[in-house]
Symmetry: C2
Subunit: 334 residues, 2 copies
Amino acid sequence: MSAILQETSKRADWVLGIDIGGSGSRAALEPVSGGAGGAGGAGAAVGTRHLFEAEPVSISPNGSSALPVIASLIERVRAERPDAALAGVGIGATGLASLVVSPAASLASLSASAGAPVALAIDAVTAHLGALGGSAGAVVAVGTGSIAIGTDFRDVWRRVGGWGHLYDDRGSGAWIGIEGLKAAIQTHDGVTTDAPALLSAAVSRFGPAPTWPSQLYTRDDRGAVLAGFAADVAGLASVGDDVATRIMATAGALVAGTLAAALDPALPARAAGVGGVFASGAAFTAAFAEAFARIAPDATLVEPAGGPLDGAVELARLVAADEVVAAHPPFIWR
Amino acid sequence: MSAILQETSKRADWVLGIDIGGSGSRAALEPVSGGAGGAGGAGAAVGTRHLFEAEPVSISPNGSSALPVIASLIERVRAERPDAALAGVGIGATGLASLVVSPAASLASLSASAGAPVALAIDAVTAHLGALGGSAGAVVAVGTGSIAIGTDFRDVWRRVGGWGHLYDDRGSGAWIGIEGLKAAIQTHDGVTTDAPALLSAAVSRFGPAPTWPSQLYTRDDRGAVLAGFAADVAGLASVGDDVATRIMATAGALVAGTLAAALDPALPARAAGVGGVFASGAAFTAAFAEAFARIAPDATLVEPAGGPLDGAVELARLVAADEVVAAHPPFIWR
């Protein structure tokens, strides 16, 4: 690959990062020289970033639409910016490991279409690259789901969580939504009396309680529907509702436990939390910080340097520079 | 209806009870006189009972197969026992309220096919009729799901639970399975270390942990799959595993709370618990009895007189005797 890069060094001076998500997909085209070089690079080249937006990934009984969405984004960037020859492409996508039959098999065609080497990663890996700028440590990403990755992108790959709302993803948006609905239905049924505001919020969102099962059990995107209710739970916590506050605080503590478990002893004790639930309010963030300090007293919690799109660009730079980003399914495919 | 019964009194001297379940369906044909007459009748006429077995109900995107299964069972009984003219038919079926579009609309054709009046009820109602023999009180039925009904079959109809594994059915087989998988995945991920036996049991049943999501999230019968794992949790509790014992004991206490909440103050304080989870061992039953005595100290817990098929026969007797079994959707359709 180094030989190829040398041959085309005059032209291939752009990198492309792609973030494929459940609520939207984006690509960022940047000069390869702008802020490249590992730690600190992510998010540094926003001034010369060209953004492309695309539809979210959709999940059907036939699988995930991630690969077609990626392919069409690459085509679009190539068509709209024929001058911008690519040195590397980094892609982060949700649900890759469990919902795309063979991520590795599609690399050759994506690479041919891009005219550059491609690395494909699960979104938790690009979240890590964006938050810690390519350096080693642990990052937890908390949106609809919750997953932590502890890695140095070489030898250590520790995954905690991310197994879905049914028996995992503790502290995630879906988890918060489920806990809110549990409190609501128990108040509806007269098992408890302590969550009238959550019951009222659930009725406002979903309608009368007897209609909830037909809305939740029939939908393939029930995790996202549940996570939608998390916004109501967070809103009630922010105005002091007791049960909602307890749910958000428990979520924060659980996420801290997930992050701490990803801090492999072989990694530097640096950690960060990213994702929408970290913007849900003080009940969550205060409990998260308190619990993390208690569980991992020797670790440093850092502010994330960037988001998953920054991480995808960082991955593209690592690929373009031929730095070590080993294939490591089900985390990264090269 | 009384006039019709008098006209046909020489012929219509049989009752038919039908129980449509997720793991099998059954019909019981009995003489109308055998043990009839409300309380104490259920289960009294086993000696003269003729049993018919049929397939379980299946759930597809098109809905439930409950009504076709019921119709074919009635046809079979009529064909095999043309001498047994029916005075009444009582049917209990799982998922009627939420999965059958219009239970009431099918009553006329079922009644024409049976040549007798028909009452159709959710399975929690026939569980109640079987357990308390038609008398008033509260009954909780705990299998894959968990639902309690407090009723006098006239004025009071209180339902608690039964809203499914996602945010309810606390203490049910599905709930126990989820709690077991939560402990297993947290041990797998290194969040905790305390459930190696549950992890080992889950791997034996489902295979390596990374394969669990593709088995659980793609199946329409995930509640039943989860409840299957409850048997492993109960087995580990019976040999003293700490985490499994704690899960089963918590399940028992939650079921007691569900049952107590169904004891409307207007009902006599009599209650019973039925369903497979009550046969899961002492960890569950001891915690259930202890918690119920604490939550509802003035209520009497009675041994169930019979099961849901007995309850369906009881419902058929009430219908045949023209006793008050008012239509009360979504509990009973007449």
